[in-house]
Symmetry: C2
Subunit: 396 residues, 2 copies
Amino acid sequence: MNNLFADRMARTHKSFIREILKVTEDPKVISFAGGLPNPKFFPVEEIADAAGKVLAEDGRNALQYSTTEGYLPLREYIAGRYFSKKGLKVKPDEILITNGSQQGLDLIGKAFLNKGDRVVVERPGYLGALQAFAIYEPVFEPVPLLEDGIDTDSLEETLRTYKTKLFHAAVNFQNPSGITYSKDKRLQLARIFKDHGTVLVEDDPYGELRFTGQDLPSVRSYLEENVILLGSFSKIVAPGLRLGWICAKKDVMEKLIVAKQASDLHSNYLSQRIVFRYLTDHDIDEHIVKIREAYGRQRDWMVSMIEKYFPEEVEFTRPEGGMFLWVTLSEDVSALRLFDLAKKENVAFVPGSAFYVDGGGKNALRLNFSNSDEDEIEEGIKRLARGIERIMGTDD
Amino acid sequence: MNNLFADRMARTHKSFIREILKVTEDPKVISFAGGLPNPKFFPVEEIADAAGKVLAEDGRNALQYSTTEGYLPLREYIAGRYFSKKGLKVKPDEILITNGSQQGLDLIGKAFLNKGDRVVVERPGYLGALQAFAIYEPVFEPVPLLEDGIDTDSLEETLRTYKTKLFHAAVNFQNPSGITYSKDKRLQLARIFKDHGTVLVEDDPYGELRFTGQDLPSVRSYLEENVILLGSFSKIVAPGLRLGWICAKKDVMEKLIVAKQASDLHSNYLSQRIVFRYLTDHDIDEHIVKIREAYGRQRDWMVSMIEKYFPEEVEFTRPEGGMFLWVTLSEDVSALRLFDLAKKENVAFVPGSAFYVDGGGKNALRLNFSNSDEDEIEEGIKRLARGIERIMGTDD
């Protein structure tokens, strides 16, 4: 049946990460590979309580078909939180509930991308965005990430060279690099996109998970037009509910709603009701403080273990939040070779090349710190260090 | 920002049905417009019980990210039910959990359709399929539905004339027409598609809701290759959970999984766990009998009211199951004009033209009988009859 598939499927294949995650199902494996939030902090009892109340009080409605846009009180809550946390004035009509941020990316691809359109992505880039957009057959233009965010000179050069539809920017504690855009970079983005016919997709699933430093304004606070925001409950409530959102102005929202309706009519309505009930009955900010403190400790511990065990030449980011740090080995050390060695030692990570559309990242690794305890982190980093030293000590 | 949208969005627009459903939010309106199952039959307490147990016994897992394919025990359940109900031998690996059938249609479009590819659709056709596929910019070739299913002569002629990727067939109690394919038509489809490079999408959301007559074999029971089945829990459990499935052979499944992962990683995992728990703790067949009996009574009542009140010239289908019947007025009576008259009388339905990609259906209406009680059905049909007579009595 192969000759029947759409052209777009020829370029896509099962993700390498997905295959890695299968390896990590073995409980013997210490996994720094996944992007899983720590289930210790899922508000299980509170969700159970909310589910019970929603079903007891309004079960018939909560189980019926609902509107494509999503549950209005939940959209009002999200709009309200944009104002209270970031000072952004957003109308509930500018919020569309999606199945996690991933569907937000898919709907943006659907609404904007013709085959061959240019999309600027960060280098390294968020794999979920690369996969979602790839379905619509664009040409990716990767622009390097510097320590304080995208290389704006290179970005401007790229935008001058190519008519570009979208730029995907994960501004806080980027997956995979852990990098955060400085305030200056955000102001520069606002300047660049103000009069430019390109849409900035400001993707921020981790923004609430800051351990150190100060929250920085959303680019959207400097720029009204040409920005679409993406958000998610996956990292602050729980990912199994698959609930996120897109925030966009009316003209864009109209297209996104059509795309959403064609995709799956609407997101799981019972879960929307449960999450809204959970958010109104409980203090989500108290809950987030707990996650932040724990992930912050795990990050500190992973940083100190890398400092203790890895060879000095190894460089790595010290993210101010989120779930990942990014390790750069010496140029001649292959992360894929390290991956094979580590697999034998029951440690997993994601080799950097997965996050590049143009090769690159061959000597880099993404390490997740949110889902391992201190003993596992120490033991896993020790084993990785042995692997790195073994590769560095050989000539092949 | 209009010049930035993808070409595919130019041909799509907010669905007329969506606009009609807004009218029907007014509780004064008697609505035969929607496609809503009757919430009286949602197993609210059972779902609440299942949710409580899943969260109490395995909450941390049920709220975590999960596999793209879906919860394995639920896929095993679906495969088992295909065997026990239809004698189909299907492996759990051939089942992918989706957000209702609608996402199944979207993923099939993603995996198969290039711009300009031919898709054969029933005339009248299922609107959700038309909307899902339209996103991938195919050329639709509508083939008429006869009383016993698709016009196979016309279908074969179309397949001879055009290289065709997909044929979408809703074989049981089709939405909108209520028509069911006869056994002979099913055998003919198996013959036609056996050696043909076109995929038959056998879409069957209503199959379990048969009031009279005998269950007929799935086309898949005569044809192993070139068939994709779609199913849904929306009509037998509840639609707000947005859970359905695709059943396809391995080569197709691999592509669908990639498309699903790019679309939203996986379907709501908590809801998959809840539905599976509900299905194992309760007798779904007993539950379905209740729905069937009620919808069957409502269908009988609507049929008898149409016979009583509508002018003799009016023709209509007498579906053996499902949720809709299809009314054909005299050729010169405009369903859109009737819609406007009915709106003033607080009755809603969907004008037939919504289900045609080539004009047509101008004197037809789709009536839903699952979601109105007997008094509403009598009163609504009476008001529609007055509207029809008023139009027939005038010359304009």
